[in-house]
Symmetry: C2
Subunit: 234 residues, 2 copies
Amino acid sequence: MCAKQKAVVLLSGGVDSATALALAVAEGFTAYALSFRYGQRHALEIEAACKVATHLGARKHTIQEIDLGLFGGSALTDDIAVPKDRDVKDMTEEIPVTYVPARNTIFLAFALAWAEVLEANAIFIGVNAVDYSGYPDCRPEYIIAFERLAALATRAGIQGKTISIRTPLINLTKAEILKIGVRLGVNYRLTLSCYDPTQEGRACGRCDSCRLRQEGFKEAGLSDPTIYANLVAV
Amino acid sequence: MCAKQKAVVLLSGGVDSATALALAVAEGFTAYALSFRYGQRHALEIEAACKVATHLGARKHTIQEIDLGLFGGSALTDDIAVPKDRDVKDMTEEIPVTYVPARNTIFLAFALAWAEVLEANAIFIGVNAVDYSGYPDCRPEYIIAFERLAALATRAGIQGKTISIRTPLINLTKAEILKIGVRLGVNYRLTLSCYDPTQEGRACGRCDSCRLRQEGFKEAGLSDPTIYANLVAV
C-alpha cells in the first residue's frame, strides 16, 4: 500500500479555506494546515482556524506569527475603516482597501517551505477569482507563476519533483463552494469570514466578506449557521 | 528635481547583502533595509545588520520576526551540525545542510509587500550564483521567475508599474564583491558571515561561510578585518 500523499493547506478560518481543506482530505491527502497571525486587527480567525483544522482532521496545524502591520498599507492591518454595507455587485470594481499587499505571496512562500520539508506533493489555497476578482494574487495567472517559481525555488524542484499549487475553488461562486463543503460535511458554524467581528466573536454582517457569505448561503438555498451581530435576516 | 526612487534591500548582516545595500545607495536609491529573525541559531547577524544599515545610510531598517524553525529541515534552524573545515572547492557539489527551504522566496515575498506599500521600484538581494551554486534560490532563473510573479502579484503590477528584482552580485566572485564594497566605503568589520559564531560574536573561521569570506579577502588582496575565534591566519 502506498503511503498517503501530503498536502499543505493554507487555512484562514473562513469558508473558502475550510472547504479547500475538506477537499484535500476528501482527495486522500494527509493535510498539514498552516495559518498566520499577521497583524490582522482581530485574532478570532485563528481560533476559527484551529477549530476547523481539528474538525476536518488535519494531521498538524501550524501557526506562523508574522507582522504585516510593520509595512502597513491595508485596512486589515492598519487603522483604515473596513467598508460596510456595500452591495455584492459593487465589490468587483477595484482593489479594495482590505487587500493586504503581497499577502498570498507570503503565505504561499511559507507553505512552500513547509511542503519542501514534509516532501509534500501539493499546496492547497482557497483563492477565488470570482468573488475576489479585484485581488491581483487571486488570479489564475498569478497561481501559475507561483507554481513555476516553486519548481525553481526548491531542492525538490531541482530533483524533478514538483509541488503543485491547487486552487480547487478558483472558478466557483460562493454558493457552489458552500454546496461542496456541506456535501463533504463541513460545519460552517466553526468558520469566521468577517473582517470586523465583535469582541465576542460575532460576525458584523455588514463588511464585504460577511455580505458575500450571506449572499452565498442564500443563493445555495442553505441556511447560514453564522450568528451575526447585526441580526440581519438572510 | 525628481524624488529619489526607493528600493527595499534584503540585509542579512553578511558581506553580500552589505555590498548590495552599498550599491543601491550608490545608484541613488533611498534604501529601506529588511532583515529577518527567522529561528537561526544565533541572533548576532541581526546586530550586524543593524550596524550595517546605519553605517550605509538606510532610510529605515525593519526586522521581521518569523519562525522557520517551526518547519525544520536546515542546519541553520535545527540541531543539525554545521559543516566545518571544508575546502572552498568542495562546496559547490550539492545542496548543503545549511540550505533553508524556500528562505529566499519568503524573504522576497516580504520585500515585495513592503515595496508595494512604499511604491518602491526595486528590491535588491545579494544572492550569488558563484559561491552558492548549490542553493536553488540563488540562481538567475529563479530570480527571473520571482520578478514575473511580482508583476502579477501586486496592485502596482496590475497598474503596469514593475518592481525589479536587482541582483548586482549574482555573477561575481567573493573577491570581486569585496573589492566593489571597499571602493564604496563598506566597513566589513561590521558584517558577520559566520554560520556558527561564538557567544561573544566572533566568527568561527571554519564553517563554509567563514571559509568563503577568508578566501575572498585573500584573493582580492585585501586584509580581512574579521576577528576569528580560531585565530586562523589568512
